[in-house]
Amino acid sequence: MHKTTQHLIRILARFARASAFGFAIALGATLIANTNAALIRPAHAESKPLSVVTTTEDLAAIAREVGGDRVRVTSLCKGYQDPHFVDAKPSFMVQLKNAALFVEVGRDLEVGWAPGLLNGARNPRILPGAPGFVDASSQVQVIEVPASVSRAQGDVHPFGNPHYWLDPANGAPIARSIRDGLVRVSPGDAALFNQRCADFEQRLGVAVTRWKQQAKTIGLTGKKVVTYHRSWSYFARAFELTVVDFVEPRPGIPPSPNHVQDLVTRMKQGDIALLVMEDFFDPRLPQKIATQTAVPLVILPTSVGADDKIRTYFDLFDHLFASIGGAMKSGAKS
């Protein structure tokens, strides 16, 4: 018995030595091979562009500005769809599976659909916390964050208002968080991404000054407006508008007659410049309110891609001001 045990131990020891030796050789070979590969082919020399998947087309447009030729960007939600509700298709899963970077608006905007898809795509590189996951709100100053996180407290969104891309100045922090994500997944391209991001911020800065001037020219600055839903809080803050009330304070819950009556009475006081509505809602009620109160109704896109002409983040605000300008003019005439 004792002898057999000793024999066994000897065999095991020999086996262990042999495997350790073999393992060391294999490890060494792998290291050398990798070093060689790295020496021959630096990371940024890869010809294949990085695959970036965003939840909305606004993020996609900014990702294209930052990534240039080094990225191939697709957006899951189209610009004419409500980003709160997206019906997933099988092709989404493949896009997520192959993505090097995933960018979301965050603040619970996509909570109804994105987490399930991310889990289902089985791509650990883009899961929350991984280098390939970007919450585009991370560097943005988010407003309307409740002081208390309890939902019982009333009308609050636990992580603040998620419609921050409608303040054009927020394009810069969005671009920076996308740049940081791109640098994490492709460090070799850091110089390019930094340069492109800085360039975008510079162009955006110029454009923001222009839009603010335009807001003054068309007589929008300082005006009071009523909006359909809460999407316009950031836009209003950026251009010094006061949002007096909402048509439908809760998404998906039709307003009560009292609320509509109060709203109509309030709007008839004559100091409301515009009734602003997102383009993916049913316009019948706002149209009726607009007719009753003689406040011009303007239906506005909230996203890049809402129609074919809005391709970039710059196009979006150009389009918004063109539409608002037209509505203000027609309102002034009547």
Binding site: G120, R151, A152, R250
Partner: protein, 274 residues
């Protein structure tokens, strides 16, 4: 095309789980002429979850689930007590009323509930592509337990569905067994609706049994036909959603519609040969 298929594996297995029990329950439902009872019970579950938010519970808290379940059981009790053999008021009317009132009550409650509670209604939509191994396992376990109960009590349950008068004459407590039926049914559909949405669940419940009824009389034969149809619709629906790059739930439902039309065309041919 090929690379999309792996992502459809778990949703497909989920649909097969749903098919396994819904085809069987569908035979009961069509026999009882309570076609929309699944919508009604699912809406009651949503109402329960909405009521839970009034107490400040988060939609994802376990007590919310218990509230949803409680309302489903309540619905089961209502449906077992409103089934009368004389049938002055059809059961389907009660079911429709419960659905409409539950849906409207949900709107009233969410009108006063904290912001974010609107998402409670999302469970009725389902998100098939997000179905993963844990969902399928949970569904399989739940349905296995319910399936065993239905196999154990099959004689009584089938008899009260098909012929409540005879059952009562034979001394069966019809109301009690009706209640048992609706509770197991409610548990089944609330779990499946969360995965596939109301449209998908409704189709799995009704279409296979209707097709089966076109071709067979016996329960065993109807089950076999129904299961085959449901499996076929799941597979073709998934493939269609890839071909058209469309949401899978809606694709499966439309494939079910096409299957029913084909079955309707095939039936006279089969009957003539027989």
């Amino acid at each position: 095309m090929i690379e999309q298929l792996p992502f459809l594996l778990w949703p497909f297995l989920g649909l097969l789980c749903i098919a396994a029990i819904h085809v069987y329950l569908g035979l009961h439902v069509v026999e009882r002429e309570v076609i929309f009872v699944d919508l009604s019970l699912a809406q009651l579950a949503v109402l329960g979850a909405a009521v839970a938010t009034l107490w400040g519970l988060d939609p994802h808290d376990p007590p919310t689930y218990i509230a949803a379940l409680g309302f489903t059981v309540l619905g089961a009790a209502v449906f077992s007590f409103t089934r009368s053999e004389r049938g002055r008021v059809p059961q389907e009317a009660i079911i429709g009323i419960v659905y409409a009132v539950a849906a409207a009550a949900t709107v009233l409650i969410l009108n006063n509930a904290p912001h974010g509670a609107e998402h409670i209604r999302d469970v009725l939509v389902g998100q098939l592509l997000a179905v993963g191994p844990t969902d399928v396992l949970r569904l399989a376990v739940l349905y296995a337990v319910l399936g065993v109960l239905h196999v154990m009590w099959r004689k009584k349950l089938l008899l009260i569905s098909a012929d409540p008068v005879t059952a009562k004459a034979a001394g069966v407590n019809v109301k009690l067994w009706d209640f048992v039926f609706y509770v197991t049914f409610g548990l089944t559909v609330t779990a499946s609706v969360e995965l596939g949405g109301v449209l998908v669940v409704f189709s799995f419940l009704i279409v296979p049994s209707v097709i089966a009824m076109l071709f067979a009389e016996r329960v065993g034969a109807r089950l076999a036909i129904g299961w085959a149809m449901a499996a076929l619709a799941s597979a073709f629906g998934m493939l269609t959603s890839v071909w058209l790059s469309a949401p899978p739930g809606a694709s499966v439902v439309c494939v079910f519609g096409a299957l029913l039309i084909l079955a309707g065309i095939a039936r006279p041919l089969v009957a003539r040969r027989a």
